[in-house]
Symmetry: D2
Subunit: 373 residues, 4 copies
């Protein structure tokens, strides 16, 4: 099926495998008149590139984005935008020794079960490089949202057992350490923890947290295309994600109604109707699947990177038991690289729902057509 397409109005289709000729995305439904250039895309792609840290992979990628359609004189034309990145440095031989073996924690086995065979080089379509298309599209979505006063920022909340602390939270710190943690002390502790794990050829997971500001109340389409439901799907679709929670998430399950309910209040200048705002935000900005005007805040749990240099028990395609040690270039932790992917998926989701929001009310539709016919 068409599993590589996401969105209803702002619809994106990604393509490409780790060791194919390239990877990319086609964005359909981008409104016309948005200023857009390759630099806009590149800045996002650069945030997913490995090689920026001793903790991330040695594989050089040098991904350069090229826009092939949908732009004229610096602005989007409203026609499909094709963005592509050609693969430069694949080093096939790194994987040849394991072409018939199912690496634990990877999708080798499941791709074989689904398709009958697979491109075994570097994970093929299940490789982390697949995120190139998502991130390029997310960059465009984010540009639209910027025009509408919406800002999306994600960061590393935890590396393994090391979590940031609310008291130490500092947005500026995020870009001063290589783990994108907005807490200097936690970043340092996390680096120590990573050193320990690398020394024993092990890998580590973590949590990315994301905040969306500026979203008006009313965004989300009950009952199935709720804002939180679509965010959950977008986030769970990222490789290695095993959990999603919004607001107080799983903690809310242990609370009581008197603790968890966000009361409403009113004051001059508050954004909601009649100056309405919420005094707390246990809900994480979503009520009944629709944004309530507060900050949307959610978290994604990443499992530890499956590729480790230790020996592991597994089988090959014929079902014969084998021991595998995955040599070559791979990340002991992918969480810092996934921060931009989480932002991109959130941008895609919110952008599409913002456009769908425009058709909710007859009076707004009438007003739209009167002014612009």
């Amino acid at each position: 099926m068409a599993g590589s397409t996401l969105g209803t109005i702002f619809r994106v289709t990604t393509w490409g495998e780790s060791h194919g000729k390239g990877l990319g995305v086609v964005i359909d439904g981008c409104p016309a008149g948005l200023a857009l250039s390759e630099a806009d895309i590149q800045s996002w792609l650069d945030r997913r590139k490995p090689g920026q840290s001793k903790f991330t992979t040695a594989r050089q990628e040098g991904d350069r984005a090229e826009i092939l359609s949908g732009i004229f004189e610096g602005r989007t034309t409203g026609t499909p935008i094709a963005i592509e990145v050609r693969n430069q440095d694949q080093r096939s031989k790194d994987y040849s020794a394991i072409m018939d073996i199912y690496r634990p924690g990877h999708a080798d086995y499941t791709f074989d079960a689904k398709y009958g065979f697979r491109d075994y080089r570097g994970g093929g379509r299940s490789s982390g490089r697949e995120t190139i298309g998502r991130v390029a599209a997310g960059a465009v979505a984010a540009k639209i949202l910027e025009q509408l006063g919406i800002e999306i920022r994600a960061y590393t909340r935890a590396i393994g057992p090391v979590e940031i602390s609310p008291e130490e939270f500092d947005w500026d710190e995020m870009n001063r350490n290589r783990l994108y943690m907005p807490d200097a002390k936690a970043a340092e502790a996390a680096e120590d923890y990573l050193e320990e794990q690398m020394a024993v050829c092990d890998s580590v997971g973590g949590v990315v947290e994301c905040r969306i500001d500026g979203l008006p109340a009313g965004v989300g389409e009950p009952v199935f295309d709720k804002l939180d439901a679509n965010l959950a799907k977008a986030i769970l679709s990222i490789g290695a994600v095993k959990g999603f929670e919004i607001g107080d998430g799983f903690e809310a399950a242990k609370r009581k109604g008197s603790q968890n309910n966000d009361g409403f209040a009113s004051r001059e200048g508050a954004k909601g109707r009649g100056g309405i705002y919420k005094k707390t935000n246990h809900a994480g900005g979503v009520l009944g699947g629709i944004s309530d005007g507060s900050q949307v805040i959610f978290r994604a749990a990443f499992k530890p990177t499956p590729s480790i240099a230790r020996a592991q028990e597994t089988v090959n395609r014929q079902g014969q038991e084998r021991t595998i040690e995955i040599k070559g270039r791979h990340d002991p932790v992918i969480v810092p690289r996934a921060v931009v992917v989480v932002e991109a998926m959130a941008a895609l989701t919110v952008c599409d729902l913002m456009l769908l929001f425009m058709t909710s009310r007859m009076d707004r539709i009438k007003g739209f057509f009167e002014q612009y016919r």
Copy 2:
């Protein structure tokens, strides 16, 4: 937008509000030749009905399912199946005192922000009664899956801070207590906890866990329509859900690769290709978004019921601050009632992806058409 539709091949559209004439669903794309009757639907609806416990609401619903199309001589015809339940006992006056007030934790405010006005009676479309359509459709999907050897079972894993224990796990116990907890001791502790909260007019959340057995390897459509991504969306679309995790979920974020990877092994009779199976299942049955043949296991976090009889600070439509006490009939805990809803959403998701799975391989498609042309 069409937010009330879910699915690609097995597609369902639900409708209905708490205090309207009724609620229902239209199922489109159900294969022909499936034996189906109203009894099949009713047994599922009965599991969501309140009144089965002193902990659930006093509101009598007496929901009777009626099938209006898509069945002939006891079997589905392949044409759309319309199922409906007419509302019997609404008691509008329970809500009239609060028609202009935004109840904290409910979608009153967000529906107003989205649509400009709302059916204020009983939560309208955001009411828990909206799950009638989902559950009816899930009953049909589950019947298809049963034909394909797939079984879905959910249960209450936690009520507030009271969790079941793996050592005490007993499937039979689940239907012997009113909380659907498969652990007698935990069920008793949970009942005590609930008594305490009811006494102080408070409410409680919890966690529902769900297991899917019999799923062949290969189900799920990368990269966006992955099995876990679609499950996440389906589950987060249920009212009051604030989190989703699969396999070890958020716990995996704290683990290391050597602990989290599921190794493969081989033995006679195991289901996978060449007798392949996994020795552990930290992944929860999904790798790269595709089922791996192991049991799929996931959890949904439910926030505490927003309607409590205590006084709460809020505002009305004009932005004036008000204090509200929500009298009337409402649940102090909805988790036990949500168990069947979680099963239904899982059934809808899996059924659709099983049908999509049929088109993955050219050899299977050729074989299909040779035999049946």
Copy 3:
């Protein structure tokens, strides 16, 4: 698959068979705040009812529309609108004699081939009664379009070889004869022709023409969801339709560019940008799949009604050759009854594309959100 759903934002799902309990539609994505009542639906349904003419079927249907959801205090709430009509008078025995026989020109054989068996009573899902759902939905779409200054009017252009004449065209005449022909002379000639065919137990086809006024320029989504492409699909989906053409249609294929091109001109008060309008309209109001501000005009060709009382050669389910005479109640011509169906399908198509049109331009989107945030 979900073949009974149409639309992206304004999405409708129809259900029901000729001899089932009823028929209906669920409309999802209707904007909130539209005044709507059962009378609005009923007036459209009444135009498809048989029994209004000696040329249409004797079968009494008495279809009453009931709205079950999505309306509150006389206005749409933005939530799904379920409309249903319960079947009253089916007279199953009319069809029992032919339950195993494939009637020529009907979908009996193809439904059997597709599903393995079928509801043989009255055509089941392939019956003309299936249009009840379409027409009910079209009534709602038309109400929205009325709010936006768009009018859709269809009429009978031809009954068999009898065509209306441009010189005799008179909108008022359309509602003064039973064939909905806006030409008194042609209507009379057509009635004579129909008398002749009825006398020899034969049936007749015809052409319905439809005009859409008030559509702004810019509606339609290249390259696949063009306005004319979506109209074609909607119209061809009506039973018995074998052709669709827009503007000069098949005639244009014989013309030359100098004859067929519509030149542009300018005058004060003309609707287009800078007072632009077209001096001719061979294109039928669509250029490059997008509306150009002129009247949209298209035609649908209907084959003659398959059910005739004459003897026909056919086979039964076992492949044995049989002769069949279809007694019972059926129309010698369905074209007049199809006029409202053509209008309904046009309304559904245009309504959905109008809503999609709102998201074409960044400047309009920004303006929308500034005013209404």
Copy 4:
């Protein structure tokens, strides 16, 4: 909106403008294991290339297809297939003189009305070069259908008023003349007619007819995704198409039931159930929107090419009246070039519906999963 995407399971998204960097398509949902190479795509693209006839444009295009993903060791992997063609020879200056002018019969005006501005070079997204993506995708779809015994062949049925004759019909003749007419005499008369029109700087339309053989009975998804409805949409989405008809089409509207009904008969070896076949085929292979096992035959009407070198009255963006003579390179007739486009669109439509057909019956689904689990 996402108007550049077509299909449900076999889903294609095209991109590219006449004078952008290139054009292409992403095919999502192609089954794995199909042998595919660039040569397969190129042979189809070559059939749309101009320069093969003195009647087609002098513009040199030299389009070379490149496959960037979705193939491994010569077979499709089941992952998205990205195909692209880089633009070589655009000659922008041909169009610079008319950048502000609305060419009659072209989509200049409507694209401006929709998006606020447009890429005025060569028609931008509305250019005939946009068909590159469609044809590349159609080549892949046709390869799948070939595996399933389905053949699609289109040809020129008419150039202006010159039509082929059934008595002279000869498949081999089609590839012996430059107009793809399977009738030598008609081809000669058409060439004479074209010479006359070119001499007076005028252009010509025509009709393409298409036949589909080998389709099993049962393909098509009532009531909206019928086979004929989806074919109509696919064909009408091709630029310059103004009409679609299937079987006897508009002629059927003038016939009587006794003439138009196709009776069923039975004989050993006939494809249908119990050896069922139809003695005539006025229906064109579709009954109730579902294939009946006969040959599917339909026609597309093409308007004359809008770009002619004669003076035409028009306006510019500011609404000022202008006279325009479109110099440069353009086709006096596009119909022969459109033959492969019609085949491609038919292939895309049929391929998607064949895959959807697999999920119609519970017994077939059960059988599928038993054999292949």
